[in-house]
């Protein structure tokens, strides 16, 4: 690991100010992804700004009837919150499908969103990777790529975003609240939060350097049956091959977001209109324009079949 200086801050303003005055700085909260990558010198910050003790660890009701989740709320606490379990069951289901109990105790809401979009070649520093070293090439294209993206990928990168939580938040129309060094706040719909890899896969979100996530807001509950179906190589503690997050209403309408298929949680609102007609037309709409490799074409029928299972379960 490269050496770095360290400071702990006690306010968002102090955090963004520290970032502005320190070259090569990064925020750290739970650290479960950042430290992992620092050990491999894939991430090499010169200065760490510890934001883990900011008073952003509350889950509060919003005037609109939704919830504001502080950026520092731990994954375990978010999954356990009584309001989340009752009104946003999809979010709890997705959270507890991700990582391990130890990691969920440490990982934060903001950090979960900001974990790197990644693949095994990103971790293997002996291999080219446009995300790790822009312009070096992509070893996954033409390599072992059964885990990789089928939608939204580019010739530069076919990695998937690994978060389960983000899939639920996409289906729930979450918004990400931030503040920058000038003190300017904004709310970014999660649909607009992740950048397509295109030619610059090392840039993963629309956040400006030093912009700090302060909260994630959920609109008021939409009811319905909440199901998160994650398909993986082992029963627990593994990334999704594909995941289906769905909210299905009694009349058969609803929402669907997919994990494990692209650089972001994948939702196509136009495709959801077909939900009362079954899984196939929805899957076709979600995966329109999909581009598969020699190893990951299985994901297309797997999405349709997983969605069919989810819809059958929702009917009860």
């Amino acid at each position: 690991m490269k050496s770095f200086t360290y400071e702990r801050v006690d306010s968002s303003a102090a955090a963004t100010a520290a970032f502005a005055r320190t070259p090569g700085a990064r925020f750290i909260a739970g650290g479960t992804n950042l430290l992992d990558l620092m050990k491999l010198e894939i991430e090499t910050p010169q200065h760490l700004i510890d934001v883990s003790r900011l008073a952003l660890d509350k889950i509060e009701a919003t005037p609109e009837g939704g919830l504001r989740i502080g950026a520092m709320v731990r994954n375990t606490d978010l999954a356990s919150d009584a309001r989340v379990r009752r009104d946003y069951g999809l979010l709890t289901r997705a959270l507890v499908a991700g990582a391990s109990g130890q990691l969920r105790n440490k990982a934060t809401t903001a950090g979960n969103l900001l974990q790197r979009t990644r693949c095994p070649y990103f971790y293997d520093t002996n291999q080219p990777c446009n995300k790790r070293q822009p312009g070096s090439g992509c070893a996954a294209i033409g390599g072992f790529n059964r885990l990789h993206a089928v939608v939204g990928a580019s010739d530069a990168c076919i990695a998937t975003h690994p978060s389960d939580m983000a899939v639920a938040m996409r289906a729930l129309d979450a918004a990400i609240e931030t503040v920058d060094a000038a003190g300017k706040a904004r709310a970014i719909p999660i649909a607009d939060f992740y950048r397509a890899p295109a030619k610059t896969p090392h840039l993963e979100t629309v956040l400006a350097p030093g912009e700090l996530i302060t909260a994630v807001t959920l609109p008021k509950p939409v009811g319905g049956t909440h199901i998160y179906h994650k398909v993986r190589d082992r029963a627990s503690y593994a990334f999704a091959l594909i995941a289906v997050g769905a909210i299905v209403q009694r009349d058969g309408t609803g929402r669907v977001a997919l994990g494990g298929v692209g650089y972001k949680p994948w939702r196509v609102e136009a495709a959801e209109a077909a939900l009362p007609r079954g899984a196939k037309p929805v899957a076709d709409g979600l995966l329109a324009g999909a581009k598969t490799t020699h190893e990951n074409a299985y994901k297309l029928p797997l999405v349709e079949r997983a969605l069919a299972g989810v819809l059958a379960q929702a009917k009860g």
């Binding site: 770095f4 479960t32 990691l103």
Partner: protein, 213 residues
């Protein structure tokens, strides 16, 4: 190829250089710990104080030191094990402020003022924690390397169920989770046992939880 002579020279050089760098580290004033200067020859350090197994410990550490390395290399509490050092195996699991975490994936300096419990703090050979006792009774290990992490994790898992934390296999999110083998298996998935003592580990945990196996 190096000749023996060259080796002698370079070896001496290393020893001299090594001694010099050690001296530099100890002479670094504490005030420079958080200064935002680029890393010089001696890596930046920072002070931290936390409670380990009921005793306050004060350390000055290279900022890169994981909590795991602080416990093992600096406090010589070698019960906590380093397996993968990447949060995948769970051998390094300790309990911090009542919660189990991977001590390999967290910086020691981030734990100012916190209470850390390691396997040494749960019990001693003469006065074992109930979970340690049950692992012995049920033969919940073979080589024993993952065992401290398994035991710390298991103790925290029972507290998590008691506190109502849901899991992937909890059927009803509105109800309190129950202590069942299925729940325990899911919740223990962050602790790998390469010897494959899983069934005995679950027996040990259900025994402590007072559940009929």
């Amino acid at each position: 190829m190096q000749t023996p002579e060259e080796f002698e020279l370079s070896r001496r050089g290393v020893l001299v250089g090594g001694a010099a760098s050690v001296a530099t580290v100890t002479l670094v004033p504490i005030g420079t710990a958080t200064a935002a200067t680029p890393p010089a020859k001696s890596p930046p350090t920072a002070k931290v104080a936390f409670e380990v197994n009921g005793t306050v410990r004060e350390l000055e550490l290279d900022t890169r030191t994981s909590l795991l390395d602080a416990l093992r290399e600096h406090l010589h509490l070698t019960g906590t094990k380093k397996g993968c050092d990447h949060g995948q195996c769970g051998a390094c699991t300790v309990i911090v402020d009542g919660r189990r975490i991977n001590s390999c994936l967290t910086l020691a300096v981030m734990h100012e003022g916190e209470k850390i419990t390691t396997i040494e703090g749960l019990g001693t050979p003469d006065k074992m924690h109930a979970m340690q006792d049950a692992f012995v009774t049920h033969d919940g290990y073979q080589c024993g390397y993952c065992t401290p992490g398994q035991i710390c994790s298991a103790v925290a898992v029972l507290d998590e169920i008691k506190a109502g934390v849901p899991s992937h296999v909890t059927a009803d999110l509105a109800a309190a989770p129950a202590v069942t083998k299925v729940e325990l298996r899911e919740r223990m998935s962050g602790n790998i046992c390469r010897c494959g003592a899983y069934s005995n580990i679950i027996d040990a945990i259900t025994d402590v939880a007072g559940v009929k196996a």
